[in-house]
């Protein structure tokens, strides 16, 4: 019996080896040896024919062999399953070096993202965002801003005129006037928007984007202007920038100034971008001219205010290293898609 078992087990192991990792072949081996008509089953059945004294030992030996066979089969079929899965995974591989199927990705214009980022900073500092019409009347664009008819500073703003005494606003300042007409101080606002001037060359477009800020309250001074500029630009450029105020002339402010930020390219040492000065001119600013307050019925003795204005286009160009202003209105997809979001 022992001999027969050994032969059988040897045959089983050979068969299992031949079956390799094929699930069907492993199953065939199981049927051949452990099936109802299998070889080991037949051996077990033959135990009954032995002498009674030999039966328990033979039975135990066969059952032990059966356990070994079953364990070997379980291992083989698990291995077969693993390799079958591996083969199936292998067959369904894709080339991950090929580009994915992207959802189409558009882009916001750099002028839009720049405006939004500035708006967010001002909003967080308690400024409201105000709007106004792009077609304006003379009062809101000029008169109330201390720019009476025949004022020489009107020459600097080449105005597009429309029928009926209307015009395309030359700056977003009329929104300041409209807001001061609508509400009493305290006022803390910005007005981003489009403005128009009859000017078209390498550094000017007839339509451009401005953002102006206005703060009117009791006790507002140039110090608040300086502090606000410093806070806004430090946050916008994400680093500490120096702010410089220089005297400058704008009819609607007095004292008036230009405000510069330290050049971020050379960090103030002087380079091509800042023309060697270490400073970049950002815009005009100053204390609201008493004549402007008088035009909107605010008492200039009680209230003071500061205003400043800047060109969003220029800041977008600085921020994104855009070399040519015209790219902003050229609408070339090869330019725009670089700002995909």
């Amino acid at each position: 019996m022992q001999d027969r078992l050994e032969v059988l087990e040897r045959a089983f192991r050979d068969a299992l080896r031949e079956a390799a990792d094929l699930p069907a072949a492993v199953e065939a081996v199981r049927v051949r040896f452990l099936g109802k008509k299998g070889e080991l089953t037949a051996l077990l059945k033959s135990v009954g024919a032995l002498q009674a004294a030999l039966r328990p030992a033979a039975g135990a030996a066969i059952n032990a062999a059966r356990d070994r066979l079953e364990a070997a089969l379980a291992e083989a079929s698990a291995g077969a399953a693993r390799s079958a899965e591996a083969a199936s995974l292998d067959a369904s591989w894709i080339d991950v070096s090929l580009p994915p199927r992207l959802f189409p990705r558009g882009a916001l214009h750099p002028v839009t993202t720049t405006r939004r980022d500035l708006e967010a900073i001002f909003r967080s500092m308690g400024f409201t965002v105000e709007t106004g019409p792009e077609v304006e009347d003379d009062r809101h664009n000029f008169e109330a801003l201390n720019l009476p008819a025949d004022h020489p500073a009107r020459d600097a703003t080449d105005t597009f005129y429309l029928p009926g005494g209307l015009l395309l606003r030359t700056h977003t300042s009329p929104v300041q006037i409209r807001t001061m007409e609508a509400v009493a101080p305290p006022i803390r606002m910005i007005c981003p928007g489009r403005a128009y001037r009859k000017d078209l060359d390498a550094t000017h477009l007839p339509m451009f984007h401005q953002l102006e800020a206005l703060v009117v309250d009791e006790g507002i001074s140039l110090a608040d202007l300086k502090g606000t500029c410093a806070a806004v630009w430090s946050r916008f450029f994400g680093a500490s920038v120096a702010i410089r105020l220089r005297p400058g002339y704008f009819p609607f402010v007095e004292p008036g100034c230009e405000f510069d930020v330290s050049c971020r390219v050379c960090e103030g040492k002087g380079c091509r971008v800042c023309k060697g000065t270490g400073w970049i001119e950002l815009g005009g600013a100053g204390m609201v001219h008493p004549a402007v307050f008088e035009a909107v019925g605010i008492d200039p003795e009680r209230y003071t205010g500061f205003a400043f204005g800047l060109g969003i286009d220029r800041i977008a160009m600085m921020r994104h290293a855009i070399s040519d202003l015209r790219l902003l209105v050229d609408n070339d997809v090869r330019f725009l898609e670089q700002f995909a979001c």
């Binding site: 558009g106 600097a156 597009f160 502090g227 220089r246 204390m287 209105v329 997809v333």
Partner: protein, 687 residues
């Protein structure tokens, strides 16, 4: 304004190097844009603000330099000795209208010899950006550049009647100006005339008839003060801008003409050997009083953000010759005649502030003042931008001005006429747009010309719809898009060209920003620029058109460089409601199984699919029913006038599970209801 450093040093005793002078001027508000070499001289390119005409001459700049460096100004040189008959025996001067001239002075210099100027004068003029003409003309330019006061030289012997009249032009008068152009004058223009005719445009340009030429021997020097408005009006009407007109328009020093006469006589004598006649002929109907102003130090502190030291403030004002007198908190000043910009207290605060330097201003933050916006931007504006960009569209910016007639087919026939610009920059930017699309389609075309195949652009902006004359126009905020090429391309398969349903889907995406449940009727658009059979229009509850889209009309597209008509659309965001919709209230989720049945239908092409759904939606259903088109087929097996479509009906019971019999009965009722719609029949029944 180009300023010669060598010249500056003749007028003020300053040793500082040019860079230091440039920095000092910039920090005082006279920004130096560039410092360049010109021969042996150094030249400052000065950006003089519009309110500082006093700095449009070397002497005015010297005053600022003197104030900055506490340096003394050089006194003017003595004019040459006069000889011969006095000037008032040669010429008389009359100002007919004081509104046109506040002061007119005339002197005579005899015996000039016209010839070239010496090299030093030529170099100095060159440094200041002027060309040397001859020694006489150059003398007048030297006066202009030194004092900022324009002077004009007439050839005395070519004046008719030896009488100068400053008067308003009469209608129809003509004058050939120095530039050789014959100008037709209109009534009221500022002219200098002899008894018979105009001989110069006062404060702007001389006339050819009395021009200095090589034969000139005797010169009449004009130095005058013309009111800014008078010069401006005439210069604008004739479209002339000269060095003289710019200075008079901004406001010259009313005391400068006499100094200018002295300097002109001196220069003529030096350069051309002339001898001045004794005396000056002058008419001065208006003599302005010198203005007195007061500045409070407390006010200066309120505006500057720090309290200036009283002694420093006094010396700052004294340095610019304001003759300050302290009186407690107050400082009284007398405004010198050349500082036409100093009109009120705030102006003096600026003088103190810029003299002491803006670097002294501390930093602070304004107190918090929370409030609502008066006119906030529409919240849907940025939401629509994000949505369009997230759908693969690139944001464009086109001009609000377009060519006349360009938007004609993009607006409804009843739209108001476009608003024309009175002074357009070019014919292609002549009127305000009433639709964003013409400009945006042009931008897309540019991209196609550059070789792009798939172009998706959008723009957000205002359009301008005129109202009554003088009234501000309506400026609705619009979003527009143009879509050329595929609906999305990938290497894995052929790309599908975008079609009007893609465009309509994009429109509904944006409209959904105003609330996914806002009901809007979709219909066929009738806009000239759109393909009449392939375009959509949406109306809001009030019947107003809120959006339209579709294929660009083939006749519009073929006039541009498009191989296939692109898809375009425009959405009136200002009609989407001023606020974004509030929070959605969550509804129950059905926990009973839904039943779906498909109906295969054959529709006549003229039958709107929506009419079928509308009819079937009226059939009483055992549970809430929804309808969705899931398939479309045309081709073999159907007549060309027909199309097969599959409609899926979903019954979603909320209270109890439906019985098969109920569902089948409903399906039969739907089939029966098909007979109420023209042009539809059942193709086959699904199990």
């Amino acid at each position: 304004m180009l300023i010669s450093i060598a010249w500056l040093r003749e007028l003020v005793e300053v040793d500082a190097d040019p860079q230091a002078i440039a920095r000092a001027l910039t920090s005082r508000g006279l920004t130096v844009d560039a410092v360049t070499e010109s021969g042996e001289d150094t030249v400052l390119d000065l950006d003089v603000p519009a309110n500082r005409p006093d700095a449009l001459g070397h002497r005015g700049v010297a005053r600022e330099v003197g104030a900055a460096f506490c340096a003394r100004l050089t006194p003017p040189r003595t004019p040459p000795e006069a000889s011969g008959p006095p000037a008032d025996q040669e010429v008389e001067v009359t100002i007919e209208d004081p509104a046109l001239c506040g002061r007119y002075t005339a002197r005579i210099v005899r015996g000039v010899t016209v010839g070239p100027s010496p090299p030093g004068v030529v170099a100095r003029l060159t440094a200041c950006g002027l060309r040397s003409i001859n020694n006489v003309v150059d003398a007048s330019n030297l006066v202009l550049l030194e004092l900022g006061q324009p002077v004009h030289f007439f050839d005395l012997d070519r004046l008719d009647g030896r009488a100068i009249r400053v008067r308003a032009a009469r209608a129809g008068e003509r004058l050939v100006t120095l530039d050789g152009i014959e100008r037709e004058l209109s009534r009221g223009m500022l002219v200098i005339a002899d008894p018979s005719r105009p001989i110069a445009l006062g404060g702007i340009m001389g006339g050819a008839s009395s021009e200095i030429n090589e034969a000139t021997r005797n010169v009449l020097i004009e130095a005058a003060w013309f009111p800014p408005a008078a010069v401006r009006k005439t210069a604008r009407a004739l479209s002339i801008v000269t060095d003289a007109s710019q200075r008079f328009e901004r406001g010259c020093d009313p005391e400068a003409p006499a100094q200018a006469q002295d300097l002109a006589a001196l220069r003529l004598a030096e350069l051309s050997g002339g001898r001045p006649a004794p005396g000056q002929v002058e008419s001065r109907p208006v003599r302005p009083a010198s203005a007195r102003l007061t500045v409070r130090l407390s006010r200066a502190a309120a505006l500057l953000g720090y309290r200036p030291d009283p002694a420093e403030a006094m010396s700052a004002l004294a340095a610019i010759e304001l003759d300050p007198r302290a009186d407690g908190d107050r400082i009284g000043v007398t405004v010198p005649s050349w500082r036409v910009d100093l009109e009120r207290e705030a102006d003096l605060v600026e003088e103190i502030g810029r003299a002491l330097g803006y670097d002294r201003v501390p930093t602070a933050l304004p107190p918090s003042a929370p409030r609502e916006s008066v006119r906030p931007p529409a919240p849907v504006e940025d939401a629509a931008r994000d949505r369009l960009a997230s759908r693969g569209f690139h944001e464009a910016i086109t001009y609000a001005m377009i060519g006349s007639g360009e938007d004609e087919r993009f607006v409804a026939p009843e739209a108001p006429a476009p608003i024309p610009l009175a002074n357009p920059i070019s014919a292609s930017l002549a009127v305000l747009r009433r639709s964003i699309l013409p400009g945006l389609v042009r931008a897309a075309e540019q991209n196609v010309r550059r070789g792009a195949s798939d172009v998706r652009l959008f723009e957000m902006g205002r359009v301008f719809l005129g109202r009554a004359a003088g009234e501000l126009p309506d400026e609705p905020l619009r979003a527009a898009f143009v879509w050329c090429g595929s609906a999305g391309a990938h290497w894995s398969g052929p790309s599908r060209p975008a079609d009007p349903y893609d465009a309509a889907g994009l429109v509904e995406d944006v409209l959904a920003l105003a609330g996914p449940r806002a009901s809007r009727a979709r219909e066929r658009a009738a806009l000239g620029a759109l393909h009449p059979g392939r375009s959509f229009l949406w109306r809001d509850g009030a019947g107003r058109a809120v959006a339209w889209c579709g294929s660009l009309h083939p006749s519009v597209a073929s006039a541009l460089a498009f191989a296939e008509p692109p898809l375009v659309g425009e959405i009136d965001l200002s009609l989407l409601g001023p606020e974004l919709p509030g929070p959605v209230s969550a509804g129950p989720i059905p926990n009973l199984p839904a039943a779906a049945r498909d109906l295969s239908l054959v529709l006549a092409r003229a039958t709107p699919a929506a009419s079928v759904v509308a009819a079937l939606a009226r059939v009483a259903s055992p549970a809430p029913a929804t309808f969705a088109w899931i398939d479309r087929y045309d081709g073999p097996g159907l007549s060309p006038a027909e199309v097969a479509m599959t409609l899926r009906v979903i019954l979603q019971p909320l209270e109890r599970t439906l019985l098969d019999a109920e569902i089948e009965a409903f399906r039969q009722a739907l089939i029966a209801a098909l007979s109420t719609v023209e042009g539809v029949r059942l193709r086959r029944t699904e199990p």
